[in-house]
Structure formats: structure tokens, C-alpha cells
Amino acid sequence: MSEAHDITAAPPPCALPRGRVVQEFARLAADADTVAGLRRHLCEAIAALGFDHVLLQDASGAVWLADMPAAWQPAAEARSDAVLAAAQLSFAPFLWSQIERIANLSESQQDFLAQAVAAGIGAGITVPIHRPRGGKIGGPIPLAGLCSFLMKNGRLLPLETLAAAHYIGALAFDAAEALKRAEPAAIRPGMPRLTPRQNDCVVLVAQGKSDWEIGRLLGISESTVHKHIEDAKRRFKVSTRIQLVVRSLADARLSFQDAIG
């Protein structure tokens, strides 16, 4: 249609988050110890919410996790990625029908969207994920990543589950980032690896927190915290908590920034 009107109806108000799907995914994502495992949990969660495809990217546009049609291809260069361009300009989740209103798209960015449609992608919503970096109070909170929830061409976006998608996108990003941080260990054979949950516990141990405090902070029981830390010690073959923290710092699994909070 060759006119310039906006024909988006106001979407109906989002229902309450699909709590059970979100809770279940939060639990599985925190315990996933491989990207493949996280991807499987993410695919199951988005299918339960009614989405067809999902794409998790970092702030440079690199694809971390994807369940996309075979014909779909990521942008050849980050600057052609129209969705990334819009995510850089938006704190709130946005519909793909709003991308042109958010970002002034270049020709290659428009082509990228047209190619996504040609690959069978229809409606979509993207959750931009912003995380503070560098620990500076009052500093900018930059884009850290983005998670897109997509429909096959000719399928309606499940508008009532958008709020749940917002949670899932952020949870998936944090879990994937924790796995990425653990990656140097994975590529050096013989080095032990920690699950994201074990990693969380070690960070808090480094900050001098007790098992009880860690349990309160992570929303898990004191005995579960104790078990995570004991597992981590076994993986590192160390016998004390101080040795655990020192080994984690030495392997760059834990940054000094993490340790000083």
C-alpha cells in the first residue's frame, strides 16, 4: 500500500506475566552449564509463550543464541542490523513495526529487514537489555544485548505474553553472559568450569558474605548455597573458600570488580 499511514491498533493491555513459564525458565537458565542447554530451555519457553523464533545477540550484534528459519541470515555487518540500531535507541521493548519510527534506517538496514521477511519472518518484538558496566555510579547504562521474539510470516504475535517475553529475554541474556564469561575455562582443556549459579555464589563469597546472606540474596536456601560452594571447591580441587576465591581470580573467572562489589 503506497500511503504513509500508521495502521497499528493499540495492542491490548498485557496480561500478567506467564508466571510459571518465567519461573521455570529462570531456574533452568541459572543452572544451565552449556550454551546448547540454555538454548534448549529458551526454545521451550518461547514455544510455551506462543512465539515461533528467538534470537539473542550481544551489543555488537553477534548472535549468541538463535532459533531462526533456515533461510534467515544475520546482518553481514553490525551497521546493517536495523534491529540493533533500534535497540541502541530504545530502553523499552519495541515491536518490529515501530523500528522505522525509532531509528532512521539506512538503505542496508531496510534491506536487512526486507530479507528477514523474505526468509519467512513476520511480526516481532525485541527486548533491548541494558546493564551497567564499569561500576561507576551515575554513569551511562549502555546496551549490553538484545533478545528478539519472532513470528512466522502470517502468524499473529501473542500480545498477551509480551510481558513474559520481556522477563525471559533478560534472564536468557544474563545466563548466556555468565556462560560466556566461563568460556575461557571451556576452551582451555583441564580447567574446571562452574555453573552460573556456582559462579554467583563464588562472587558473593569473595565479597565476604555468609551462606545465609548469599541464600537470601539469591533466593535459595542456605544448604543449597553450601552445596554450590562445596561443588565449586571440588571442581577446583581446593579445600578452603579463600583458595576458591584466589583460583577464580587467577583464572579471570572472577574479576576484581566482582570481588569488591
Binding site: 500500500m1 503506497s2 500511503e3 504513509a4 499511514h5 500508521d6 495502521i7 497499528t8 491498533a9 515491536l95 518490529w96 513495526s97 523500528i99 522505522e100 519510527r101 534506517l105 538503505e107 531496510q110 534491506d111 529487514l113 526486507a114 530479507q115 521477511v117 523474505a118 513476520g122 511480526a123 510470516n153 502470517g154 502468524r155 499473529l156 504475535l157
Partner: protein, 223 residues
């Protein structure tokens, strides 16, 4: 209501067609600045406004608020005569059950919310019309933002070429698959379940469903 106007019943709609030509001039020339369409009499009318064209007029209280023009792809249409380069990826799609959609829009003088409501009715009515008429696909040129609104509404879309700049705006050639799913999706999306398309072939006649001819007339003549 969205009224179907064809060569068979256009004598009933002389006044409304006149309103449509003036509306199109306000929209495409005065508002969107397609200067090559400017006419001294303020009626936007071209060589495709002939007996082959099918119009869908959005009429409320006798006033035309918006319109579509559909052209059979078995005869001359915009993709064959004006923009042949736009479908370079998938090729031009033609056939007796494929029509080209162009000159779509609502009156720019209407308040914004009535224009939006008009566009919703035009889209839902268009898909209802195609279902009834036996049209399987519509080919059209569209700016990306409009395309994305249609995708949001659940219309199944096949791109035919990459976007290209026409009159300062990048537009892409696409085909809408006008099947039952597309119609059901847009009805759900816009909460417009009731039938809004009307076809009157005689004054005071009951509304009936318009069917496209099995083959467009000139295709029959060519055989």
C-alpha cells in the same frame, strides 16, 4: 462499509467515484507530493482508471473516506508498465487470480484517528473482498513501515524485490497472500469480525458477493 465498484455497477457510483478522484489528488499530490500526478482540475486519474479497474470505496453517510484500486495482472498494470524493475528478486507475479493493489489511502483531511480507523477498515475489507472474489494474491508497492504494520496484523507477505527509492521514499514490491488465515488474523488483530464489504449491482438491490471473472476479459479476447 466498503463498497465494490466495477464496470458493471459504476453507473451507480458516479458521484462517489468523482469524490475518490479528488480524494486521491489531495492524498497523493497535495499531501504526499507525487508531483507527476498533479492535474489542473484536482482529479488524480490515470490510464489505469478504466473498465478493468475494481475499486473498493470506504463510504460513510454517502462520503468517500478512503479507497483502493485493484487491477488485473493479466492486463497492463503498474508493475508491468511503470515499475518493471521492482520485482527483480522473485519476478513479476501475474495470473487471473492475482490482482495488483495501488492508490490505497484515506482522506488526509480526516482527523488522524479517523484515518487510522479508515486504514484498518480498508485492510480488513480488502482481505474480505479477496476471499469472496476469489483473488489469491495481491501484488503491491509498499513502504517498509506499512509492510511491518501488515505483518503485525498477521498478513502473510511474500517480498518480490528489495526496497528501492521512489519519490523520496523507499518502497518494496511484495505480494499479500489473501487467504483465510490472513483474513482471520487481521479480523482478530483489529477486533473487526463482522462483514463490511458490500456489492450492489442495481439500485436498491441486495448486497451480493462479487466474483472475479475466471479469466480477465482481455485474456479471453487474446485466446
Amino acid at each position: 462499509m466498503l463498497e465494490v465498484v466495477t464496470r458493471e455497477n459504476k453507473h451507480l457510483y458516479t458521484e462517489q467515484l468523482e469524490q475518490m478522484f479528488r480524494l486521491r489528488h489531495r492524498l497523493f499530490v497535495d499531501s504526499m507530493k507525487w508531483e507527476e500526478l498533479r492535474k489542473p482540475d484536482g482529479r488524480e486519474i490515470d490510464q489505469f482508471d478504466n473498465d478493468e479497474a475494481v475499486y473498493l470505496l470506504l463510504i460513510e453517510d454517502g462520503e468517500v473516506l478512503g479507497s483502493h484500486r485493484l487491477l488485473p495482472t493479466t492486463g497492463p498494470h503498474l508493475f508491468s508498465e511503470i515499475f518493471p524493475e521492482m520485482c527483480e528478486q522473485k519476478g513479476r507475479q501475474t495470473g487471473p487470480r492475482i490482482y495488483e493493489l495501488n492508490r490505497t489511502g484515506t482522506d488526509p483531511l480526516l482527523p488522524r484517528d479517523r484515518q487510522l480507523q479508515g486504514m484498518r477498515l480498508l485492510l480488513v475489507g480488502l482481505l474480505e473482498f479477496c476471499q469472496g472474489a476469489g483473488i489469491e494474491k495481491l501484488t503491491l508497492l509498499t513502504p517498509l513501515h506499512t509492510l511491518y504494520h501488515c505483518l503485525m496484523a498477521g498478513v502473510k507477505v511474500e517480498p518480490l524485490g528489495l526496497p528501492k527509492k521512489i519519490d523520496e521514499e523507499r518502497q518494496a514490491a511484495v505480494a499479500f497472500v489473501t487467504d483465510e488465515t490472513s483474513l482471520a488474523n487481521v479480523r482478530d488483530y483489529f477486533h473487526l469480525q463482522e462483514s463490511i464489504v458490500r456489492y450492489h449491482h442495481a439500485p436498491g438491490a441486495e448486497s451480493s458477493v462479487y466474483r472475479i471473472p475466471p479469466l480477465a476479459p482481455h485474456a479471453v479476447a487474446a485466446e
